[in-house]
C-alpha cells in the first residue's frame, strides 16, 4: 500500500480493516443476523477502525464489508460535507459516489433525524425488487420500544425503538412495507450494535 500523501492539505487516510478477510466476514455475519431477525440489536465485535468523523466505526465497518466498485453510494449532507469520508470509502472500497440518492445502491446517513423520505431512494422494480437501495443509518441507541414490529424473521411481534430517528418512523416503515416487494432496507448502526429493518418489517397496533 502506497503511503497516502497529505496533499491538498487533507489529513492522511484512515486505515481500514486490520484483517480484511475475517473482519469483513464477522461484520457481514452481524449484518446477516440483523436482517434475518429484524429489530433485534446484534452486537458487532469491535471493528477496530477509526474512520473520519462523522462516520462512526460501526457504519464504516458495514460499508467496508459490503461496498465495492459495483455499488454506487450516496452520502447525506453531514457526511458529504466532510471530504475525508468520501476519500475513505473510495480508497478502501473503490465504490463511486453519486449525488442523486435515487441512483445509489447504498446510502450512508449519519444524521438519522434528518432521514430523507424513503421513496427518494431506489425502490427496485416488480421483476427486480432486489434493486431497492440499502440504507446504512447511524442511531444513538437501540431500544426495545416504543414501536411494535412484525414480519418475517420476528416470532410474533418485537418491540423496537431507536434514538435519533424521525418521530414518524412508524409511518415511514408502514409505507415502505406496503410497497412490498418493492422498497428499501435499513441497517441501523448504534455505538456497538446493529439492527436490520428490511422492507418486510411493519409496525402493528400495540396490545
Amino acid at each position: 500500500m502506497a503511503a497516502p500523501s497529505p496533499a491538498a492539505g487533507r489529513p492522511a487516510l484512515a486505515a481500514g480493516f486490520a484483517d480484511p478477510v475475517h473482519d469483513a466476514q464477522r461484520c457481514f455475519r452481524a449484518v446477516m443476523a440483523a436482517m434475518a431477525e429484524p429489530a433485534r440489536a446484534v452486537a458487532l465485535p469491535e471493528p477496530h477502525i477509526c474512520p473520519p468523523a462523522p462516520l462512526g466505526p460501526v457504519m464504516a465497518a458495514v460499508a467496508l464489508a459490503l461496498l465495492d466498485f459495483e455499488t454506487p453510494f450516496w452520502l447525506d449532507p453531514p457526511l458529504a460535507a466532510a471530504p475525508a469520508v468520501a476519500d475513505f470509502l473510495r480508497f478502501h472500497t473503490g465504490a463511486p459516489q453519486v449525488a442523486d440518492p435515487g441512483a445509489a445502491m447504498f446510502a450512508l446517513i449519519a444524521d438519522g433525524a434528518a432521514l430523507p423520505e424513503l421513496p427518494v431512494f431506489a425502490q427496485g422494480a416488480p421483476d427486480d425488487p432486489q434493486d431497492g437501495a440499502t440504507l446504512i443509518v447511524a442511531v444513538a441507541a437501540l431500544h426495545a420500544g416504543p414501536l411494535t414490529l412484525a414480519g418475517p424473521g420476528i416470532p410474533g411481534v418485537r418491540g423496537f425503538g431507536a434514538a435519533g430517528l424521525p418521530a414518524d418512523l412508524a409511518r415511514r416503515l408502514a409505507e415502505n412495507a406496503a410497497g412490498f416487494p418493492l422498497g428499501v432496507d435499513l441497517i441501523l448502526c448504534g455505538p456497538a450494535h446493529l439492527a436490520g429493518l428490511p422492507r418486510t418489517t411493519r409496525p402493528v397496533a400495540e396490545g
Partner: protein, 335 residues
C-alpha cells in the same frame, strides 16, 4: 496478506508447487457480491436474486451454488456439516466438507446440533434446527414455474405479478390424472404469503420443517445463478386444495437399524431375491439413536461384539482431517 489469492509457484523443482487459496476459496470481491445478494434475498423472502455465479472447482450439479453461499458466509469460528440426501458420508458430502476443511481450515462435524452451518443436498435433518444455525440448500433448478413456462422473462413477470394460477392448474392436473397430488419432491411452497418458491428437491416430507423454522435458510443455485432465502420464523405454506390438503409421506415400518418412526426412510436392496430394508435417510440421526440404545429389527444391540450390520458411521471427521493435512502449506516466498 491472506486476502490476495496466491498463485502457484512455477514448478522449478521436483516438489509440487505450493498452492494456497484465499480463506474459503473465493476472492473477497466475489464474497461481497454474494453477501449483498444474500442480504437482499433475506429482505425479500422467497424471491430469486440473480448473482454473478463463479466457476467452482467442481462441476455444475455438484452443489456449486450451495458451495458459493457457504464460502461467502463461512467464518473461522464456524462448524460445518454437509449432507447429501441426509447422509454425511456420501461422495458429495465428503468432497464438499473436505473442500472447506482444506481451503478454510474450519471445524467440521456430522452432528446436526453441533453445526453452525449445514450445507445440504435434498434433505433437512431430522433433528430440529436451532436459532442461530444456517442451513444452505444446493438447488439445481430454482424456478418452480420453469417446467410450466420455459421463458425466464415470463416467469420473472409472473413472480412480479404474483400470478401463480398456473401452478395450481398443474397440481389440479395431478389430481385429475392420479386422483391425488403426485408431486413428491420439490413440492412448491408460498413464502410469507407472497413468493412461490421451489424448496429444492427435498422430499415433501421435509416441507413442514421449513415453516416457522428458527434457523435461517439460504438457497444457492450455481448453474442458474440465483440465491434465495427464508428468514427464521417465516410462514412457509405448501400449496394444496381444501379438498386435497397437503400431506407428507408415511412409512409402514420404523427404521430397521434404529427403530425411529416419523422419519424419512431410504430403501436398501439386500439381494436379488427381493429382500429389502428401510433405514433412516439421516445418518447422523440414525447413528445417534443407535448410540442411545435404540435397536431396530435388523441390527444387533449397540455394543454387541457381533453386529449383524456394519457399525454406524463415525461422528468425528477423522478422514477429512487426514485429507486436510495433505494440502501443502506455503513454504517459500511468492514470485
Amino acid at each position: 496478506m491472506s486476502d490476495a489469492p496466491a498463485r502457484p509457484r512455477p514448478a522449478g523443482g521436483p516438489a509440487m508447487p505450493a498452492i494456497t487459496y484465499n480463506f474459503a476459496y473465493l476472492d473477497e470481491q466475489t464474497k461481497k457480491m454474494i453477501r449483498r445478494a444474500i442480504l437482499k434475498a433475506i429482505a425479500i423472502p422467497g424471491h430469486q436474486v440473480p448473482f454473478a455465479g463463479r466457476e467452482m472447482p467442481m462441476p455444475y450439479g455438484w452443489g456449486t451454488g450451495g458451495v458459493q453461499v457457504t464460502a461467502a458466509i463461512l467464518g473461522a469460528d464456524d462448524v460445518l456439516k454437509v449432507i447429501d440426501q441426509g447422509s454425511d458420508d456420501t461422495t458429495n458430502a465428503v468432497a464438499i466438507r473436505s473442500f472447506f476443511a482444506a481451503t478454510a481450515g474450519v471445524a467440521t462435524t456430522t452432528r446436526t446440533s453441533e453445526a453452525s452451518i449445514i450445507q445440504t443436498r435434498h434433505r433437512i435433518p431430522e433433528a430440529p434446527l436451532a436459532s442461530g444455525q444456517v442451513i444452505v440448500y444446493q438447488v439445481p433448478i430454482p424456478e418452480p414455474l420453469r417446467f410450466l413456462e420455459p421463458r425466464e422473462t415470463e416467469t420473472r413477470r409472473m413472480h412480479g405479478l404474483a400470478d401463480y394460477g398456473l401452478m395450481h392448474v398443474k397440481l389440479y392436473e395431478d389430481i385429475a390424472h392420479h386422483g391425488h397430488i403426485a408431486t413428491t419432491y420439490a413440492y412448491p411452497v408460498r413464502v410469507a404469503g407472497r413468493y412461490l418458491m421451489d424448496p429444492s428437491p427435498i422430499p415433501k416430507f421435509d416441507n413442514p420443517k421449513m415453516d416457522d423454522s428458527p434457523a435461517l435458510q439460504l438457497f444457492g443455485a450455481g448453474r442458474e445463478k440465483r440465491i434465495y432465502a427464508i428468514p427464521p420464523h417465516t410462514r412457509v405454506v405448501s400449496l394444496d386444495f381444501e379438498d386435497h390438503p397437503f400431506a407428507v409421506q408415511r412409512f409402514a415400518a420404523p427404521c430397521a437399524l434404529c427403530a425411529a418412526e416419523g422419519v424419512y426412510l431410504d430403501e436398501v436392496i439386500l439381494d436379488d431375491a427381493g429382500s429389502r430394508m428401510f433405514v433412516c435417510s439421516d445418518t447422523d440421526h440414525c447413528a445417534t439413536r443407535q448410540a442411545d440404545g435404540h435397536t431396530g429389527t435388523m441390527r444387533a444391540p449397540y455394543g454387541s461384539s457381533a453386529p449383524s450390520s456394519p457399525p454406524p458411521p463415525p461422528h468425528a471427521g477423522e478422514n477429512e482431517t487426514a485429507l486436510a493435512e495433505t494440502v501443502p502449506t506455503p513454504s517459500g516466498e511468492r514470485p
